[in-house]
């Protein structure tokens, strides 16, 4: 039955952790998708969602560390995690090369996340059979 065939997903997260539930819902969805045999083409962080890729988040030890959980998931499943460069630069999320380019005092991008342009999102929409957005609630 075609309706239940395996899909290739692009997930787009636009809500920040510890502000919205979006990264949490997206991770639980992503785990279930992989468990069902689907594939994830990529995960794209946009707008406030880029904060998920911070290497400096330090929530209380009895709360889930969403950035680390996401990073582990991406590594374990070899899924690319991409933070939009325009969203990231405004919000203070930078890698080593942006640090040098903008002469910033540090970098704070958590591996394996990378920073790239909106073209990565466009490619995701073209390459995958399903694009699911995880926005901030309210």
């Amino acid at each position: 039955m075609a309706a239940t065939s395996l899909q290739n997903y692009t997930l787009v997260i636009t809500g920040a952790p510890y502000s919205s539930q979006a990264p949490q819902t997206a991770l639980l969805f992503a785990r279930a998708a992989i468990a069902a045999g689907h594939t994830l083409d990529r995960v794209f962080l946009y707008g406030d969602g880029v904060h998920l890729a911070s290497s400096l988040s330090a929530p209380p030890s009895d709360e889930t560390h969403w950035a680390k959980e996401w990073a582990r998931f991406l590594k374990d499943n070899a899924v690319p995690g991409v933070a939009c460069i325009a969203s990231a630069l405004r919000r203070g999320l930078v890698n080593e090369s942006e640090k040098k380019r903008y002469e910033l005092p540090a970098s704070n991008l958590l591996e394996p996340f990378i920073i790239a342009g909106l073209g990565e999102w466009v490619e995701g929409t073209m390459a995958s059979s399903r694009v699911i957005y995880f926005h901030a609630g309210g």
């Binding site: 309706a3 899909q7 819902t25 639980l28 069902a36 689907h38 995880f134 926005h135 609630g137 309210g138």
Partner: protein, 95 residues
Amino acid sequence: MMPINTLHILNKAPDHPRTAQCKHALRPGDALLLTENAVLALSVAGGHDDPAIPVYALEPDAVARGLGRSGTETTLVDFSAMVNLTAQAQNVISW
């Protein structure tokens, strides 16, 4: 399960303006999945307008908000079933 034309995923509370917009956009053949704060619709009397549209609610979000019992009109689903819904639907809209 029935084939789904468009799956509408709503994660906003019942008083959010996007909730009314979402309900207005539902068409026969569509399905509605309530996640996060949207599961609060389960507690609102008379919140379900159109019996022709199947309504699902994410069970982890419902029980987190003390709303574990499913009404007759709403089916509680886990993340695995949520994935199935998105795979079956021709289109998915996240409100």
